[in-house]
């Protein structure tokens, strides 16, 4: 646990968070790993976990009937994966698959949701940080939709 506490408290995502609040998070944390091609979660399943990726790469995918799944985004070392645990109906919208051996710290989102309900200061800190991630992902998705490398150049 001490090790998890150190790793979490040094993570940029939790920068500036109260030591006591980090300890509450540590109480919901565990070390996990996934072999290449193993799924961290699948679309429609209950979303009750999120991950600090420590090593490896995870692709966010969606399946299309009779076609190969489409990779929408990839998450790398140091990044946070998963925010569906935070918003009703607490179900994953996409699949997450380990592209290679991936090690992560998993946080029990259901446990954290309860703690956030009990302690609104903690809830605000968590929400603030996830709002940033959600905004970044939304921005990135918009850029992807804009097709920014389009064919309008003669360079």
């Amino acid at each position: 646990m001490e090790n998890l506490e150190r790793i979490l408290s040094e993570h940029p995502f939790l920068e500036g968070m109260d030591v006591d609040q980090v300890q509450l998070l540590v109480g919901c944390a565990s070390n996990v790993f996934f072999q290449a091609n193993e799924f961290l979660f699948r679309e429609g399943e209950p979303a009750d976990t999120f991950y600090f990726i420590r090593h490896g790469k995870v692709s966010i995918e969606t399946h299309v009937p009779q076609r190969e799944p489409i990779v929408i985004q990839s998450q790398d070392e140091g990044e946070i994966l998963g925010w569906s645990w935070l918003v009703p109906p607490y179900r994953w919208h996409f699949d997450a698959r380990a592209v290679e051996l991936t090690r992560a710290i998993a946080l029990d989102g259901k446990c954290l949701r309860d703690k956030c309900e009990q302690d609104h200061d903690l809830g605000y800190e968590v929400m603030k940080r996830f709002a940033l991630i959600i905004a970044e992902r939304l921005g990135a998705t918009r850029l992807q939709l804009m097709d920014i490398y389009g064919h309008n150049t003669d360079k």
Partner: protein, 289 residues
């Protein structure tokens, strides 16, 4: 650290009339992607090639079809064979990409100011490019690597639409295998067989290792990509006067006379295409330009 893009002659000084195209022969063609071709050009018999600065462009004339500005994408240390990488998007570029070995093409240039590769020695250099924007930056990467010891970290971040759109795969594989350049690729869309990153190129910036206080960024790609890239670089702490961008306008004469490529008080063909971001910041923000 403020510097200016490389100053170069407006056109090849040995060629009297900058408006007169010289006939070059296609020495070699290479299909880089489904719609992009690199042409290696041979000077006319008995004629030398000409030196160029990374980031400069030539006007290539597809006889009877039209003339287009195309950045030089070859190695500046090898001036006997000019390389241009062309994506087929219009009549002239389609004609150019259809040329075969031995065919002739009209060449005027080199024109414009290039990347200030020499002037930024001592800094970390981050090269960020999207789509066919890798072509005008390849000469700069060649030059950086040829003088590798003069720079701090060298980082290349490249984004493409799909894995099939990735240019210069052989170069990229070679650069990725080197220990002295960090190379990261990403694509917007991919099937599961793609093992690399998926997402826009701006997402690679927070992950890259460089010192923002001693870093110069060279950015090239469609303007919308550059706009968001610059925002991310500034967010990371890179100074505006250390960011260089390659602007794209309707270049025709190549010598700042016709006015087609006017950008504020400058002409992209003569004063660009490479600008310090600080000097063109307002154009980036201006709508309908």
């Amino acid at each position: 650290m403020a510097t200016t893009p490389t100053s170069s002659p407006l056109h090849d000084v040995r060629d009297g009339d900058p408006m007169l195209a010289r006939p070059f022969q296609i020495r070699r063609t290479r299909k880089d992607t489904y719609d992009t071709v690199s042409l290696q050009l041979k000077p006319p018999d008995g004629d030398d090639g000409f030196p160029f600065e990374p980031g400069q462009f030539n006007m290539l004339y597809a006889y009877g079809v039209g003339e287009v500005p195309i950045s030089i994408s070859g190695n500046p240390a090898k001036n006997d064979s000019l390389v241009h990488t062309i994506r087929a998007v219009g009549a002239a570029t389609r004609a150019l990409t259809s040329l075969k070995v031995g065919d002739s093409v009209g060449v005027r240039g080199p024109f414009g100011k290039g990347w200030p590769v020499e002037a930024v020695a001592g800094n970390d250099v981050v090269v960020i490019t999207g789509g066919i924007g890798l072509a005008p930056l390849r000469p700069a990467i060649y030059q950086l690597l040829a003088h590798r010891e003069e720079y701090g970290k060298v980082v290349l971040l490249y984004g493409a639409r799909t894995p099939e759109d990735i240019l210069f795969r052989r170069n990229l594989e070679k650069w990725r295998s080197r220990f002295d350049i960090e190379t990261a690729l990403t694509v917007d869309r991919a099937a599961r067989s793609w093992k690399g990153n998926v997402g826009v190129v701006t997402q690679l910036i927070p992950r890259a290792v460089f010192d923002p206080l001693h870093c110069v960024a060279f950015v090239c790609g469609p303007e919308i990509m550059m706009r968001f890239t610059v925002m991310e670089l500034i967010k990371r702490g890179v100074a505006e006067n250390n960011i260089f961008v390659s602007m794209e306008r309707n270049m025709k004469c190549g010598i700042g006379l016709c006015g087609h490529c006017q950008l504020g008080s400058s002409f992209v063909c003569k004063d660009g295409p490479v600008y310090c971001y600080e000097d063109v910041r307002d154009s980036f923000r201006k709508r309908e330009m």
